[in-house]
Point group: C2
């Protein structure tokens, strides 16, 4: 007898938490901290606030490996009425937009709650004050796993006497801090490499467990704007959803209003190309004509290229400062490539090459990978960046191994094609791979110039 069942999204991720990175108590505490820190960075830097983030870890019950994790930021806070869903409903997010953020899935904060609840049955405590709010909201929440809904265990408000804004979260979970400590410190150091305008305090449970990462600049990249989808990124479902909003809208207006890279002239040219009248109500587009319309949108080569206003690359100077501070090399070369796109999604690749100084010589380059400023630490074996760097013939750039060489690659996009919900590796996309190759070669050429000049100086000194 075969018995069929449906699961709520919360139940699915409770049972399959490995696919979101919570595979064991060591990795779980690492993933908890990174999901919360990434939310804090999205809530500060995207809004031109210099991030100040505190991370306090304490032993809650050492006999059971229980740790309490506290993360506090000075970000834009969460509106009081949104706090329950933000932490209690899987697939709930403010980042389902065409805009560069670290977050993408609407899952991270919920995985933290699911994992903590499954291991310690304790609620998450959230305190938050939006900008200019007179009130500080405090909730204790759990998830009703069968319904995928928040359960409010307690709720109170305080007068916001000192004009605080931000979010503070406390959660108790089963986690192996001693085993995870190294990775978490490394994660924060790498985060600082690409966000040198952020300050972090990490305070662990033991006396000597404190790390202070100061801000080394107040320069921040311009935050991204919110965009519209590009015609090359559409699929049938998206078009259907857009048509639903106003089926009477004329085709011409539909194209101009809803898509990036489409002005009136271009829209008219496209409508000629597909042989449809500009004033036809878009709701009349159905079945095979609709599919054809979508296919032709992706095929048409007359659209303007996807804009990069929805992106916020680190920038060559800020990236150099971050790499200099963390790796302390003899010299750093950086490049921010021109915007490119894959399937209508704009992306930018940035690379840094650090040489000498405090960098340990190795048999191959040390690699630091980032996607939307998030350090990717696990799963390097499969990642396209490792593949590209290993395929380069470094002797062409005057590098003989062992050599003190580190490569930093950052890909930012409105849609990072993550290979899994744990955000550790990027799926194979040919356009991205080729841009990474170009970026690494560009900084490698700068290194070759530097090495050549140093060799010439050496020769002159010898005479």
């Amino acid at each position: 007898i075969v018995k069929f069942e449906a699961l709520s999204p919360a139940e699915f991720f409770r049972r399959n938490r490995e696919i979101a990175g919570f595979s064991n108590p060591t990795r779980a505490i690492y993933q908890t901290i990174r999901e919360l820190v990434e939310n804090s960075l999205d809530a500060t830097e995207t809004f031109k606030i210099l991030p100040s983030i505190k991370i306090y870890i304490d032993y809650a019950d050492q006999s059971r490996n229980w740790v309490s994790v506290y993360v506090e930021d000075n970000g834009i806070g969460i509106p009081g009425d949104e706090i329950p869903n933000v932490f209690g409903r899987v697939f709930y997010s403010s980042k389902y937009r065409i805009k560069q953020h670290r977050g993408i899935f609407g899952l991270g904060a919920k995985m933290v709650v699911l994992y903590a609840q499954s291991t310690t049955n304790t609620p998450i405590t959230v305190r938050s004050a939006p900008l200019k709010s007179d009130i500080i909201y405090e909730y204790q929440l759990m998830i009703d796993i069968t319904k995928n809904e928040p359960v409010i265990v307690s709720q109170k408000t305080f007068e916001n006497r000192y004009g605080w804004h931000g979010t503070a979260i406390k959660v108790v979970l089963e986690g192996d801090w001693p085993k995870a400590k190294r990775r978490i410190e490394e994660y924060l150091r790498r985060t600082a490499m690409v966000a040198p305008y952020a300050e972090f305090v990490l305070r662990g449970p033991d006396e000597d467990d404190a790390i202070k990462i100061p801000r080394v600049t107040t320069k921040m990249p311009d935050p991204p704007e919110e965009g519209l989808p590009h015609p090359k990124s559409v699929d049938v479902e998206l078009i259907k959803q857009l048509i639903q909003r106003d089926p009477n809208m004329p085709l011409l207006e539909f194209l101009v209003e809803n898509f990036d890279g489409v002005g009136e002239t271009i829209a008219k040219t496209f409508l000629d190309f597909v042989k449809l009248p500009p004033d036809m109500p878009v709701g009349k587009l159905v079945n095979d004509e609709l599919v054809n319309f979508v296919t032709k949108m992706r095929e048409f080569n007359g659209w303007r290229r996807p804009r990069a206003d929805w992106l916020s690359p680190i920038g060559e100077d800020i990236l150099a400062e971050g790499v200099r501070f963390v790796l302390r090399p003899e010299v750093v070369f950086t490049v921010t490539r021109k915007p490119s796109s894959y399937m209508g999604n704009p992306f930018i690749v940035e690379a840094a090459l650090a040489w000498g100084g405090a960098i340990e010589p190795g048999d191959k380059p040390i690699i630091y990978r980032f996607a939307n400023k998030v350090p990717l630490i696990y799963d390097e074996g499969n990642d396209v960046v490792r593949k590209v760097v290993d395929e380069i013939d470094w002797t062409q750039y005057k590098v003989k191994f062992p050599a003190p060489l580190a490569i930093v690659v950052h890909i930012c996009s409105t849609k990072i094609p993550y290979a899994s919900a744990g955000k550790e590796a990027i799926a194979e996309v040919p356009e991205i791979e080729s841009e990474i190759r170009n970026a690494v070669r560009e900084v490698a050429r700068k290194l070759r110039l530097y090495i050549t000049r140093k060799e010439k100086e050496q020769e002159l000194l010898m005479k």
Copy 2:
């Protein structure tokens, strides 16, 4: 202004299809075929039916890269009233049980429908007849993505005149058959390696595109039974759900009825250990007492070890036949290890070592990885099997590279810890890693014995 949204599971996976393996048209047609073939194998072999599976691929519209994929099996079919949810509701499955299956997520068939619908806007056609059914059901279905519900486009029944049973599925999607063809053929060959009792016909769109993989044995492993969770695998949420079913049940009975490895004597010993009365109604277990109960269940060492009746390993003989047929080596050694467990989930590792014959000599062993009889083809770089095989010093086993050596590793479990929803790699679990190491060493020792004997024979011949 920050705008919050909720997504249905269908919408989430439509937008993030890369985390389920549908990252581009080449990989999408591969993933489509594997999801359907894995469902067909689960519907046959689990019920002692010798699998016969047909896979027909045709060009539906070459100008748009549209292919039609047809998969038919002779399995137990799908009950007529369940067909809509099976294909139209994400997180719907008959495999959310304690039992070894290829399926685990309740997502595969839905991803096929989502991808096809997003690229061609055409419904999936499903025809199915359960065992001994007088009726054949036929549906045309799509998914209402916003609601995560099936949309029945058409529905009919036929008289089942010839007593057919099984399922036939036809779907039209954007897919790059020429690029995917090699990988799909390799996938089928590897599937046959661990299921030599199954027959496959793969017929592509071009004249010469036909592969017939015949059955080479009618011996099948015993199918798994359905089990109960083991106490070491529980978390708080699971216990809460079990308590809900009958809060008045006495603790002793609750333990004996709901868990594997728990008889009355053991249950009494455990209740002494946690100092709780055997007749206490389980619903009285709340808050910290409940969490303590769960923690102690995982800590207690008196449970019987997890049973392997819920598993269905390939078996040393069947595995040898499959490897011999596909790789045509000079010699094969196989081992099926004793059952082991991780976090209360039983698992068995099986390994085969194939040497010489038609195997190409290489600089390191060729690896074939399987999880619950599913070939893992992508993402080898990160997989624990590659790591274990590379760490072995093969000279200890009289192997000098280049050498014609292939290693097959199969892990079967009631819960395979997949690293992502695309089922290509396994997350790191220490117990599994150590069992893989033991299995590979065991077959390596058999190879060393063989090589030593051959050397001695050579010496005798020389004299």
